[in-house]
């Protein structure tokens, strides 16, 4: 009889290279900002571009977060997500236009109240729409990716056309509320007030989302559900209910993103959701499906890169996103921080 080999477990410290590779996605944004600074040279234009890039990234993140969670949790890919962006924008802007006397007044309180009302209205409508969408369109095709893609694309078209029916075929121009107009100068750089607001809102949302996911029970269930849904169900949680909740919340966030984007561009069209979907998909792919942090970093990268490139080489801006996606997928084929194992 031979003796069993000694059991000597060791705790190897993770090597520097490994820790670096884990932290690499977080470092990408600062690296990109520094590279942008070196390439642009002029600090004032760099600051302007960085703020507008961050603002754009934050808005894309707001729209993308719902999509990536819905995918992670239930393996449902929703090509109709863009419709919620458009609907949110149209509802929110309609409310703002109806409250013309509030938005026209040079009073911060009235302006903020009008915007808040618009956002709440948009989120309620898109949330309800998301609930209906899940029930009518998505539910019959669980588990079949092919049909999901086809059916949700159909839903996108139908909702977009219904917007045309309700609001007419033309784009709607709007002006921002009085106190959000204009820019102020900081260190020689002109910074639009609204962009700064968008950055703040996006940051607050991201932090709130992280807190919900890391500190609350519902967040725990959602995260566990993304990693291993069957196990969570076996523990007695009704994941379907959680999923519907996430779907509704994701749709409402898309609506919020739509209002923010509409105010940013000062024009809304029924096709805006479809256009934004392209960016949202790129963000979700490079972030890694199912990952909130990945989507956040991806959105910031997309926003910053697009603004820098548009300044440096306007012609290249059209394909900068595709280039970014290609580069990231060559580095990590699953996206930067995939949560869901490839199925």
């Amino acid at each position: 009889m031979s003796v069993a080999p000694d059991h000597s477990p060791t705790f190897a410290r993770t090597s520097l290279a490994e820790r670096l590779s884990r932290a690499a996605p977080y470092l990408l944004v600062p690296v990109l900002v520094v590279l942008g600074f070196l390439a642009i040279g002029a600090p004032s234009s760099w600051l302007t571009l960085t703020v507008s890039g961050l603002a754009m990234g934050m808005m894309i993140f707001v729209m993308a977060s719902g999509l990536t969670l819905v995918f992670g949790l239930m393996d449902v890919i929703n090509f109709g997500h863009g419709a919620f962006i458009s609907v949110g924008a149209f509802v929110g802007i309609s409310v703002l236009l109806a409250l013309g006397s509030w938005t026209g007044a040079p009073s911060l309180a009235l302006n903020v109240a009008a915007v808040m009302l618009a956002v709440v209205a948009a989120m309620i409508v898109t949330g309800a729409l998301g609930w209906a969408f899940e029930r009518v369109i998505v539910r019959p095709v669980y588990g079949a990716h092919l049909k999901q893609i086809l059916v949700t694309v159909g839903g996108l078209i139908v909702i977009e056309q219904l917007i045309h029916v309700v609001w007419g075929p033309d784009e709607i121009f709007l002006t921002r509320p009085e106190t959000l107009k204009g820019a102020f100068t900081f260190a020689g750089a002109a910074i639009e007030k609204y962009r700064l607001l968008a950055v703040v809102v996006g940051l607050v949302l991201f932090v709130a989302m992280r807190l919900v996911f890391t500190r609350t029970k519902i967040g725990l269930i959602v995260r566990a559900g993304v990693q291993n849904g069957e196990m969570v169900e076996a523990l007695g949680y009704r994941l379907r209910l959680v999923f519907i909740g996430v779907f509704i919340a994701g749709s409402a966030l898309a609506g919020l993103g739509g209002v923010m984007w509409g105010l940013y561009q000062e024009v809304i069209t029924a096709g805006m959701g479809e256009e934004m979907m392209i960016l949202v998909f790129i963000v979700v792919i490079i972030g890694g499906l199912g990952s909130i942090e990945g989507a956040f970093i991806g959105a910031l990268l997309v926003g910053l890169l697009q603004n820098y490139i548009a300044f440096l080489e306007p012609k290249l801006a059209l394909i900068s996103n595709i280039g970014l996606m290609t580069a990231i997928l060559m580095w990590r084929p699953q996206g930067m921080m995939p949560v869901v194992e490839a199925k």
Partner: protein, 350 residues
């Protein structure tokens, strides 16, 4: 002989056979049966869309992957011919060079996209093709120095294919270059269609179907799923590019709206689903019904909207501009209730 020509994949339903023969006959003798410019345009459009839809079905119906870049490949073929004719002047050489270059470019681009997305998971492919296709569409409309931008390109094709080339009269129909052009399109489309039928009924096509049914099992048997998917993508892309070249030769014009727009992508999707996914014959029926409906139903919608002008909201819904709304509804309903499409119904409904 006939069975051999059809690669052993006969329609397998009497009604289907009759319909297919009727469509084939109508297309083959279109200039004589339905004289007139508009009907000839419709017939040529049907021919080209049959090939385009069949090539898409190779991807969606047989391999089970969704692509949103099929119009991009279609456009590559069309712009290939347009740019070559523009640069080399009118002539057969330009047409040949443009066609081959377009098909090659489509295959290469499809391979690159496939390698990036298909090796991870098939669902990436849908998203990435959507992103790439929209980037290409924007690029084409922005680079107006090369592509003519939103206005597109007009160019001349060999004189033998234009109405100015006259040969005489048969049965009261003038034989001119336009007619020759139609038969060029028709013949090429027929050949391409038979080639596609051959592909899906070959051992290669069987493997694709196996992958569609159960990817894991196909891999376990020893087929390299990723390779097969990429090859299917390339094949489908180059056939789409060839269809695009034919379209460009027929129209003598290319523009982003006629070749690259997302609306055409939706049309293709709808044609595949209506006709029947996973049957090449479905493409014939889907394309024929859809193109006819598109050409003649929109007029009907317009008159219906006028008739209901007094009612609230109804005329808005029936406005011909809302054509897409009804397409979308039809699309969702057919995915739910007719996943096998018309051909599937006819084949099982005996």
């Amino acid at each position: 002989m006939l069975t051999r020509l059809l690669s052993g994949d006969r329609p397998r339903s009497l009604v289907l056979t009759v319909i297919l023969l009727a469509i084939l006959g109508a297309l083959a003798f279109a200039p004589f049966l339905f004289p007139g410019v508009r009907s000839l345009e419709t017939a040529a459009r049907i021919c080209i869309f049959i090939v385009l839809v069949a090539s898409y079905d190779l991807l969606l119906g047989y391999t089970g992957i969704v692509s949103f870049a099929h119009t991009m490949f279609f456009g590559l073929g069309a712009y290939g011919v347009a740019l070559a004719s523009d640069a080399m002047g009118r002539g057969w050489g330009a047409l040949a060079v443009g066609t081959v270059a377009g098909a090659l470019a489509a295959a290469v681009l499809a391979a690159v996209i496939g390698m990036f997305s298909l090796r991870v998971r098939a669902i990436f492919f849908a998203m990435i093709t959507l992103a790439v296709a929209s980037a290409v569409a924007v690029l084409v409309s922005q680079l107006s120095a090369i592509t003519g931008g939103e206005d597109g390109l007009n160019y001349s094709i060999p004189r033998e294919l234009t109405p100015a080339f006259r040969l005489g009269e048969v049965m009261g129909v003038r034989i001119n270059g336009k007619l020759l052009n139609y038969y060029l399109v028709f013949t090429c489309c027929l050949v391409l269609f038979l080639v596609l039928l051959r592909v899906v009924n070959s051992p290669f096509g069987r493997v694709l179907q196996a992958i569609r049914e159960n990817e894991f099992r196909a891999e376990a048997i020893g087929y390299r799923v990723v390779y097969y998917r990429i090859i299917a993508t390339c094949l489908s892309a180059s056939v789409a590019a060839l269809a695009g070249s034919l379209f460009a030769i027929w129209l003598r014009y290319v523009g982003p709206d006629t070749t690259l727009s997302f609306t055409i992508m939706l049309d293709i999707l709808l044609m595949v689903v209506i006709g029947g996914m996973g049957t090449i014959y479905g493409a014939v029926i889907g394309a024929a019904i859809f193109v006819l409906a598109q050409n003649y139903l929109q007029t009907l919608m317009g008159s219906a909207a006028e008739a209901t002008a007094g009612l609230p909201l109804v005329p808005d819904l029936l406005n011909p501009d809302r054509w897409l709304l009804w397409l979308g509804v039809l699309f969702i309903l057919s995915v739910y209730f007719f996943p096998t499409g018309i051909v599937g119904r006819l084949r099982t409904g005996r």
